[in-house]
Symmetry: none
Subunit: 199 residues, 4 copies
DNA sequence: CTGTAACCGAGACGGTACGTCCGGTCTTCAT
DNA sequence: ATGAAGACCGGACGTACCGTCTCGGTTACAG
């Protein structure tokens, strides 16, 4: 039986230093050139302290970003709900397009996604901790539209979300095309046509 | 000025051995644990011979798979066209679902996608050589449907393709949900609702 | 001022466990691969308990062997004295040769000697606790021979002891030659020639 | 089968840099604190280049000193031979005492001896390359004395050498007593008594 | 009889070095 | 004069221990 470390004795100071160092270094050198050794050195921490608590580089970086979002206000997740689904969705999609253009956001998220592709465990964590809450907020907005009779009441919301976001996400991730506000609008419109309630 | 190698003198025997070794090793140990050193050893080739002709590990692997598909018959790319768009699309989507479940296919494609995320040059090559022809065949089927009045004549086919495939692709790549024949059908139906011609 | 531990509160149980573990581990893995950590684990003791009471790995091992010899009967130290110096010395030298061939003896003593070479403090302890009493017994036998007129009365006993033992010891320690009963005899004879009383 | 490096392609420049660095560092920090990493850094060499050609730290240091003595003039090995054995031996022993007092000599030789105790392979190399030639020179002087009728013609020269040097060597190595010119003289005299030709 | 001060087992911590792997460059030799 | 073979420098890997440092718990002496 393998000896497991005791979380009760974990040094919070070290944990914070490591996550901060990871965040800084990802920004400075990029994910691919990030090394455990550099994180440890920057954090003023022994390498073993990283290996003790994280299984991989990806896990550290994921945690580093999780820590950021957990620090943020909880209520900030809710999407706009003016009653006009079309307008609300277009606004959200345009905001997403803008967000994806931010270089500070781009690097780490790309890196994390690349890692996730080959690491199911990391993927699960990512879904649960980062994607999950956001998706739930989005679904909530769609449910509101369903109640308002603007979307089909029997729509599969998982598929709906994919229909709405996957094209945008894929275009960004694989750089298969330009991300413009017009594209955001067109996507929202196609989505609404697909999900319109039956007459 | 940097000395460029002369492609005319390139050893075809070495090129084939390297691509074959790359393909084998990706299957055996996965892309992440693949090393230039191992490819060279397996191919019975000096490392320099790899570095001389390819800029990165990703480029070798990409070439390895390109070589495979180029070997295949050119005409095999066309999609079924029975006149029934709904049936044809469902068949294609179900086939795609099945293909994604094949472990021999899964590993290398995942790896390539992971690499592409962080390497724009590789991404461009991938689009041009692998994704491009396939996408063109798909668009051709959609144009046929447009001519038959089954899809909106003014639809943006790039967006259409994304609407149809991105949800499936993303679900597979990021493992955000199960890939089933029912899912394939639902996706095709949602796509058709979104792209139906206006009355 | 540094806090000194209070010997009165020392756990005898821990002390014994540590010494026993040290002895076992030296036999099992050799001195060079012996670690404080392993001793602590084997003894079921915290590392600090070792560091509290011993300054170095060498000190622990030395103590471990001191504890052994202290446990032995005190009187057993005396050398045979039949009145025939030549016979007595040859017997003792042959016994020493045999002892040096015992693998259980060989490992730890080699290790201790290697350590002693680079650690004067350890050397002093070794001389005082282990070598000293033995040397004294040997000198006692030589004095007896002096009284019997078999050795020069004015001989320097320190040098005498070295003349008798150092060749044997060095041959063993540095493996510069075979240790045989004949060699033991030849050494004893040379010694007697060198130390014979003047006429 | 393990791949062996090809000595023909070995970099002489690297070899020299490594041996020089080893020599310098042994002097500066002592053998115990000497690390492969530091040698590599000082020599401007990859660690692998050391591991490729030497099996252990001890082997590097031994080679470093071998390289020194090989550089020296070959004939310089002969011992003084004035015809007066007693005087010659005392001179040599006193010189040895002086040599052992030199700190630049002391550190590395102590270290090498400590290592040799636990490493038979190293011991064999040491005997062959360093001790051997010196011992041969000493034996030559003794043979000369035998021819002059000053030593027993049938004396075992290996034992003779040990009788003469081992006491001195042991006293120095294990620090069991002071090394003085008087001690050197006494040792030479005892040796001559033991080895005097029978009348 | 009870604090309270020490030792104790346990093990996390900042570090150093290990020995290995591989990246990318440079050199040698055979074809 | 290319290409295989592979040595080279460099640097990160993940592991093993170092010696120090808490952390509760458990004695055992002092008030």
């Amino acid at each position: 039986m393998v000896k497991q470390p005791d979380p009760a004795r974990r040094s919070e100071r070290s944990r914070q230093a490591i996550l901060a160092a990871a965040r800084e270094l990802v920004s400075e050198v990029g994910y691919a050139k990030l090394t455990i050794e550099a994180i440890a050195a920057r954090a003023g921490v022994g390498k073993q302290t990283i290996y003790r608590w994280w299984p991989s580089k990806g896990a550290v970086v994921l945690d580093a970003f999780l820590a950021l979002s957990e620090a943020g206000p909880e209520g900030s997740m809710a999407l706009p709900d003016t009653g006009d689904v079309a307008a609300d969705l277009k606004a959200v999609m345009r905001a997403t397009v803008a967000e994806f253009a931010d270089p500070a956001f781009e690097g780490p998220i790309r890196a994390l996604n690349a890692e996730i592709i080959n690491d199911p465990a990391l993927a699960a964590q990512y879904r649960e901790k980062l994607a999950g809450p956001v998706d739930e907020a989005k679904k909530e907005r769609l449910r509101s539209a369903q109640r308002a009779g603007q979307l089909a009441a029997d729509a599969d919301l998982d598929l709906a979300l994919e229909l709405l976001y996957a094209p945008l996400y894929q275009r960004w991730l694989l750089r298969t095309g330009p991300l413009t506000p017009d594209y955001a609008d067109a996507l929202a419109e196609a989505f609404l046509r697909a999900m319109r309630p039956a007459r």
